[in-house]
């Protein structure tokens, strides 16, 4: 058994901030042993975000010199917000509240920033190990006392191969869950211990490509945020184009998973978004070179779970720490890591929540707490709520605005005849900056050992057949990696394509998909996401 002072599960920004702050803020001679584990092959390989980073998160964590040396090629120099109505029709919003502005903020690949944070953590003496999935928490007498890593070297029938590696147990005085959006251990803990927020979490799936464009055609640091088309009026959806350098543009589209029509295919919406005139202007002559997808916990303030259980703290996306108006969470994730470290060093884990609530990130979340819910009724309500939250510093409305439904999966209507064909007819032609889904999956670098148990477990195959009749197997559309397909009258699961985005776990209308951990080190290999 391995013993450590602090075990951090997940080497993303929140987990690494926790590790860095733990080592930096502890007095010399009393520095705790910090072990950070991640299921990705290397730090950042499972990290994906826009990302325009609100630099307030670096305060109290990194030195000015470290912030200056961050792998960032551009800062926001020109920012616009656009409402897209039709493929060729969009209008620029003439004025936006200053709190929405991200002028001068770094615009970068969060994968690269994470790699950089991992270097700093290692330099500070934290131990970062990648390729190890943490698959179970260990509880003793009502307290989390550590965790277990996943086995490796099982064949597809679950039998041990010649290279079988058993699970290892790590005991820790404090365990920090930094798994990111819809983390499996985090979700399990929240459900088992009743840590849910006022409202359950609501997610969007974010799909993103890195497109290389010819030199001299675009401006580094120019960013555009969009809402509207191709989302309908009742679904929260928006996109962005971020020029992270003169020749590289991040293009992303987020679509809320509380959508109701089963024929919806977020990847196709992403393609239609890219085909709009508003986006085409930014990717002209370009070629897609990288791809990825991840769910975003966008419920905000009311959906944030209680982030504390004896022996255990939840930081970052797993704790629902996201400003649901700006869809920004990296800075709050970093702040939560610092708060967790302070609580651990003060030997008072329970104080984490009060420390977190004193951060600027949490205050922002509170201010925009009523923005997300009205968007699920209709977009104009959401826009009004956003305006109101800004104008009154979040004082009005003072009560919790209702949204529709309490769970993303329960929202689906039955599939109406002809709808699938209509969606397919709306698809746009492929091209260098418009790859098909499997080409995109290839560019994510995702890879899984084929001879291992399928990590996407169907709880009851009979329910899949009922789902096919009622909803037309929406998993074959909502998965951005084409993991699910109907073949010869049954559901086939190509788990090797999986991007670990967790959309299926959230959106399967029958709650029939159990997302378990594949062998550590498997999954996407993002290098520039």
């Amino acid at each position: 058994m391995i013993e450590t002072d602090v075990l951090v599960v997940g080497a993303g920004p929140a987990g690494l901030a926790t590790a860095i702050a733990l080592r930096r803020k502890a007095a010399d001679g009393r520095k705790p042993r910090v072990v950070v584990l991640d299921k990705g092959r290397s730090p950042g390989s499972h990290v994906l975000s826009g990302a325009i980073i609100d630099p307030s998160g670096f305060k109290g964590l990194l030195t000015d010199e470290e912030v200056a040396k961050m792998p960032v090629e551009a800062h926001v120099v020109k920012e616009s917000f656009r409402s897209i109505m039709l493929p060729k029709l969009s209008v620029k919003i003439p004025w936006v509240p200053p709190m929405m502005s991200s002028k001068t903020f770094p615009v970068a690949s969060l994968t690269k920033v994470t790699q950089y944070l991992a270097q700093i953590a290692a330099r500070e003496g934290a131990e970062v190990y990648t390729g190890y999935a943490v698959t179970d928490l260990v509880e003793k007498d009502g307290r989390i006392v550590g965790a277990k890593t996943g086995e490796k070297g099982l064949d597809k029938n679950g039998r041990r191969k010649s290279n079988y590696l058993p699970s290892e147990e790590i005991r820790a005085k404090a365990t920090v869950l930094a798994e990111g959006g819809c983390g499996i251990l985090t979700e399990r803990l929240i459900a088992e211990k009743g840590l849910q927020g006022v409202r359950s979490q609501t997610y969007a799936v974010g799909i993103k490509e890195l497109i290389e464009v010819p030199a001299g055609t675009q401006t580094a640091g120019e960013v555009m945020h969009t809402f509207g088309y191709p989302a309908d009026f009742t679904t929260y959806g928006g996109g962005f184009t971020y020029h992270v350098s003169e020749t590289q543009v991040m293009v992303g589209y987020a679509y809320a998973l509380d959508y109701r029509r089963p024929e919806i295919d977020p990847f196709r919406l992403f393609r239609r978004f890219k085909a709009t005139a508003a986006v085409q202007r930014h990717i002209k002559g370009g070629k897609t070179v990288a791809y990825g997808a991840k769910v975003i916990p966008e419920g905000g303030f009311y959906s944030a779970p209680k982030p504390y259980y004896p022996g255990c703290l939840i930081v970052g996306d797993g704790a629902g720490l996201l400003d649901s108006l700006r869809i920004k969470g990296v800075h709050i994730a970093l702040q939560s890591g610092v708060c967790a470290a302070e609580a651990i060093l003060a030997d008072d884990l329970a104080s984490y929540e009060t420390r977190l609530h004193a951060t600027s990130g949490w205050r922002e979340m509170k201010r925009v707490r009523n923005v997300r819910a009205p968007f699920s009724i209709a977009m104009p309500f959401g826009v009004m709520a956003a305006g109101l939250a800004w104008a009154t510093f979040g004082r009005i409305p003072w009560f919790r605005l209702p949204g529709l439904g309490e769970s993303d999966a329960a929202e689906l209507e039955e599939l109406k005849p002809g709808r699938l064909e209509r969606e397919a007819a709306n698809d746009v032609p492929s091209g260098p900056a418009m790859p098909d889904r499997l080409t995109d999956v290839f560019m994510s670098g995702t890879i899984h050992e084929e001879d291992q148990p399928c990590h996407l477990k169907i709880k009851d195959p009979a329910r899949c057949e009922e789902c096919e009749r009622r909803f037309g197997s929406p998993c074959t559309r909502f998965c951005p990696a084409e993991v699910y397909r109907r073949d010869e009258g049954r559901l086939q699961i190509d788990f090797s394509n999986c991007l670990h985005c967790k959309t299926c776990r959230i959106k399967c209308p029958c709650g029939n998909i159990d997302w378990t951990f594949p062998q550590g080190g498997d999954g996407p290999r993002y290098t520039r996401m």
Binding site: I2, L37, Y129, T149, G153, N163, I170, G445, T527
Partner: protein, 267 residues
């Protein structure tokens, strides 16, 4: 028994692209990985450690960050390792590399040659498959290439199966030997977390040109007669004909048959 395993860190060539205008490698966002063919040699060595208590030493030549190759091998169970690294080694071709590695191996073995030196069959960046054979020449030790399986008898004799273009060959001999190992030899084991924790703390010996007593004119660019005149990507192959017969196997089979007939491959 002492086994020395030579490994190399290479750019992950699945991500390497060549700039069509300058014909240079575009390494942006390209990770360094252990040469995939070098995963099998240490496993073969570790099996000898398990079966006959061999001492396993890992050697790699490269920049300081290549030390991670050694750490990974230590995490999996190797006993010790050394990084052969110096600016003076920069630009080495396969001849200079073979010379340098052989000097380093001698140094690590107190001037003697080890019982067995293992290599992967080739590296995925240069694909020359020359360094293993080169080291065997410099060490003046017999060479066996493309080893698929290795058995060691109690009296120290070995029996290996090697793969040739037209079949397999069984070779028997006595150590010392240099061997290059194929993928088929062994499925590499995973490093346990506890192993990584120990390996991360291990101090790794760095050998420079003085430490290995290398002749200055035989190392690095100076010791490399190979000159790279030009690098160019191979011509892009046109995509094949795609037959989409999902849901209609018969139609697909007929289309394939018609295609083969057109090519004159079947009647």
């Amino acid at each position: 028994m002492h086994v020395v395993v030579c490994m190399k860190q290479v750019p992950d060539t699945t991500n390497v692209r060549i700039n069509p205008e300058t014909n240079t490698l575009m390494r942006e966002g390209v990770e360094s990985i252990i040469n995939p063919f070098d995963e099998y040699a240490p496993e073969e060595a570790l099996r000898l450690k398990d079966s006959c208590g061999a001492r396993v030493t890992v050697v790699t030549m490269g920049p300081p960050q290549a030390a991670v190759v050694i750490r990974e091998a230590l995490a999996r169970g190797a006993d010790d390792g050394a990084l052969v690294s110096s600016r003076a080694f920069g630009g080495a071709d396969t001849l200079a590399t073979s010379y340098t590695l052989s000097m380093a191996i001698r140094k690590l073995c107190g001037g003697k040659t080890p019982d067995l030196v293992l290599f992967g069959k080739q590296a995925i960046d240069g694909d020359t498959a020359q360094v293993g054979p080169g080291v065997s020449e410099f060490l003046e030790v017999p060479l066996v290439t493309y080893v698929k399986s290795l058995e060691v008898a109690a009296d120290g004799a070995y029996r290996v199966t090697t793969v040739m273009d037209d079949g397999e060959q069984v070779v028997e001999g006595r150590f010392p030997a240099v061997m290059t190992v194929l993928k088929e030899a062994a499925v590499p084991r995973f490093a346990p977390l506890a192993g990584w924790m120990a390996a991360a703390k291990a101090k790794i010996e760095v050998l420079d040109e003085k430490a290995v007593d290398a002749d200055p004119i035989r190392i690095g660019l100076k010791g490399s007669p190979t000159k790279v005149v030009t690098i160019f990507p191979p011509p892009v192959k046109g995509g094949g004909e795609k037959i989409d017969a999902r849901g209609d196997g018969e139609k697909g089979a007929k289309a394939i048959a018609a295609f083969l007939q057109k090519k004159g491959l079947v009647k």
